[in-house]
Symmetry: C2
Subunit: 144 residues, 2 copies
């Protein structure tokens, strides 16, 4: 069984990010939540709706990850994203499902909506805004 | 009288951005407001407080700009930022004042607090989050 492959995971995360942007989301990868957990891709759209996409590069990557239910409390929509040859039947049916490659993605099964409460939404939007702007500044002003 | 100098303005904006980041703000330059106006530097801190800093590279740059009062409605704190040799007496006393160079800045006169209402604050934070994340993605994924 193939080990988790960071290279594949990065490519899938890029395809997922492009896909979400086409839907009007701003995205950040490796987004740290208040719990210290990192969401692979976190997106926010103009209505303030949030989505977390966890990228699984291999079955092992999913089977050794007991922490995905914790993400569910930090987004309105939750998806797993996998490559087309991933054995999708091992993924939980109650989660949204995205098939991705390095260049894009599509939704195979829509996520349920579990609406954030207002204070958590506000906190997540602020954290997202600070993370994105600080990373942007590191790239624009690398001497910093 | 010197004409507005975009090179100087960029340097001052960089110094202002570094200064605001040291205070815990995430920043975006050339931030488009809903009105279409662009704020030179827009900052948000972890409490969701917002600041706009308008950079003035020369007296002409200030004297030909009739639009600065419009920015006041889109931030909690408003500052002009100028170089150390700028004739500061021509700037309105009711605004905050920052002296900057390419590497940093300091506050000479604190801005009044004019608190945003909740719905405008929310809209600004969302716009900021989308602007920052989309610019970040353009840099990370230039083929997009």
């Amino acid at each position: 069984m193939a080990l988790p492959d960071p290279e594949i995971a990065l490519k899938l995360a890029r395809g997922v990010s492009r896909f979400l942007e086409n839907l009007g989301y701003g995205t950040v990868t490796e987004f740290s939540l208040a719990t210290g957990r990192r969401a692979d891709v976190f997106g926010v759209n103009e209505r303030g709706e949030t989505v977390i996409v966890e990228v699984k590069s291999s079955p092992v990557d999913f089977l050794t990850d007991g922490k995905w239910p914790e993400y569910r409390e930090f987004c309105d929509y939750f998806y797993f994203a996998v490559a087309v040859d991933f054995p999708r039947e091992i993924l939980p049916e109650e989660c949204g499902l995205i098939v991705a490659d390095a260049y894009g993605a599509e939704i195979l099964r829509a996520s349920d909506l579990v609406s954030l409460n207002a204070s958590r939404r506000k906190a997540l939007l602020l954290r997202f805004a600070l993370t994105a702007s600080q990373r942007l500044r590191r790239l624009l002003d690398p001497d910093l």
